[in-house]
């Protein structure tokens, strides 16, 4: 781990949001780097100072009363924005309120949309974050070898499952190695492949997407994500590779995982 990576990861460490796996890395780096050790100390002091200071603002009683008074109105039609805002007040949201209920509805729908993210979507976001972390942290691989027979046993004892490690070098996807990662607090296996300059993280877990057996294809933060389930395992492929090439990769892995092809 270098200082640039440490500078980012020491924050989740302070906030208690870093998994044990990465926390150990940060602590190991801090033990040998005076600069990062001082930063950690300073940011911890800052956190404590902020926790001890009163940074909140209590809502004024008048605001509470205004909202209380507006709430029990019997129907949505009656709580029209015009009525809700006190007309005598400098009409801060006046343009908005008079503008259209439609835009209010659209804006609110956007909010609701955020919370309709199903579990698969949340896992997809985490998978992409894990992919990005693996690139940032210089921690792409724990076991670095193109030999599938080395990677596969490496996972034994580190995971409850045996992720299939498939060598696709002949088909243009070079096996680089494997890594233990954590998604949603669960240990997962990641098998790393490369196509030209593009890295692919193939995450394999017991049941990351819960009951969602459905396949998923999408693009998050510029990364293509494919998800599918097979043989009781959950697969997530993430890469900056073009969607169709990642699709090809998924097909080849999927074909190899099928019971007919055993390693």
């Amino acid at each position: 781990m270098n200082c640039a990576e440490c500078e980012i990861l020491l924050h989740p460490l302070i906030d208690g949001e870093l998994d044990a796996f990465h926390a150990r890395d940060v602590e190991a780096h801090v033990a040998t780097c005076a600069g990062c050790a001082e930063k950690l100390k300073a940011f911890r002091a800052m956190r404590e100072a902020m926790a001890g200071a009163d940074l909140k603002f209590a809502a004024p009683a008048s605001l509470r009363n205004r909202i209380e008074a507006a709430l029990p109105s019997p129907s949505a039609e009656i709580i029209a924005p015009r009525k809700f805002f006190q007309p005598a007040r400098r009409s801060f949201f006046g343009g908005f309120a008079m503008g259209s209920a439609l835009s209010a509805a659209i804006a609110a729908t956007l909010v609701i949309g955020v919370f309709r993210i199903d579990q698969n979507q949340q896992v997809a976001d985490e998978v992409v974050s894990a992919h990005i972390r693996s690139l940032q942290a210089g921690h792409l691989m724990d076991v670095e070898t193109s030999d599938q027979h080395t990677v596969k046993p490496w996972f034994d004892g580190r995971l409850d499952l045996a992720p299939p490690v498939i060598d696709l070098t002949a088909e243009g996807f070079t096996l680089l190695g494997g890594r233990l990662d954590y998604i949603d607090g669960e240990p997962v296996g990641s098998i790393v492949y490369q196509r030209r300059k593009h890295l692919i993280n193939l995450f394999v877990a017991q049941r990351l997407g819960a009951k969602h057996a459905g396949a998923l294809t999408e693009s998050i933060q510029g990364y293509n994500v494919r998800h599918w389930s097979e043989q009781g395992l959950d697969f997530w492929a993430v890469s900056d590779l073009a969607g169709d090439e990642l699709g090809e990769f998924v097909q080849k892995i999927s074909a190899a995982v099928h019971p007919s092809g055993s390693s």
């Binding site: 001082e38 902020m50 908005f96 909010v111 919370f115």
Partner: protein, 194 residues
């Protein structure tokens, strides 16, 4: 339709019980996003109005981040209406902080020599309020609203990795400003103040 009216009353009561306990949290975020107290109050009121309208479709995961996400959208919409894109502006992650913060370009003393100066609550509030978006939002959601990284990601609509880098940037900027701002004598690395 007395039945409907009763159902609405009932819904309003359930909403009141669920949402009003977070009024201080919503107001605090509004103060940091809108800066002025009158603007913040209007934004909070609008937030609760919208939240009640959409309470039927509310599915969780938790009331506090849900309300804060609505408040954030209210503020975004208001800035859009005013023609300023205060919240929507997303500085690219590798852009140097000095470009947005010219006032911090000339530190009065080298931050390296200062671990952390003591500051009072009012100064810290002011320093946080001076952070540019989206870093201000990230640090407020974390330190004031006490959300988890995952919840901050939901409120801001970005992946957890982005939350992490925004918090790192926010705290770095805050630390520079913090040590430059007037305050008690600095706590030095050696732990001995002159």
């Amino acid at each position: 339709m007395a039945g409907d009216a009763n159902a609405e009353q009932d819904k309003a009561q359930r909403f009141r019980d669920a949402a009003l306990p977070y009024l201080d949290d919503v107001y605090a975020l509004a103060r940091y996003l809108m800066r002025g107290s009158a603007d913040a109050e209007d934004a909070v009121q609008e937030c609760y109005l919208r939240a009640l309208r959409h309470y039927d479709t509310y599915r969780g995961p938790a009331m506090k981040p849900w309300l804060l996400a609505i408040l954030r959208n209210v503020c975004t919409a208001e800035f859009a209406r005013r023609g300023k894109r205060e919240i929507a502006v997303d500085y690219s992650e590798d852009e140097p902080a000095s470009e947005q913060l010219p006032m911090w370009q000339e530190p009065l003393r080298s931050p390296e020599t200062v671990l952390l100066r003591e500051q009072d609550g009012a100064t810290i509030r002011r320093l946080v309020a001076q952070l540019p978006q989206p870093f201000r939002e990230a640090i407020v959601l974390r330190e004031v609203n006490e959300l988890s990284y995952k919840q901050i990601a939901e409120v801001a609509g970005v992946p957890v990795g982005t939350v992490m880098s925004r918090l790192a940037r926010a705290r770095s900027m805050l630390r520079s400003a913090w040590n430059v701002a007037e305050g008690s004598p600095p706590i030095t690395t050696s732990g001995m103040s002159p």
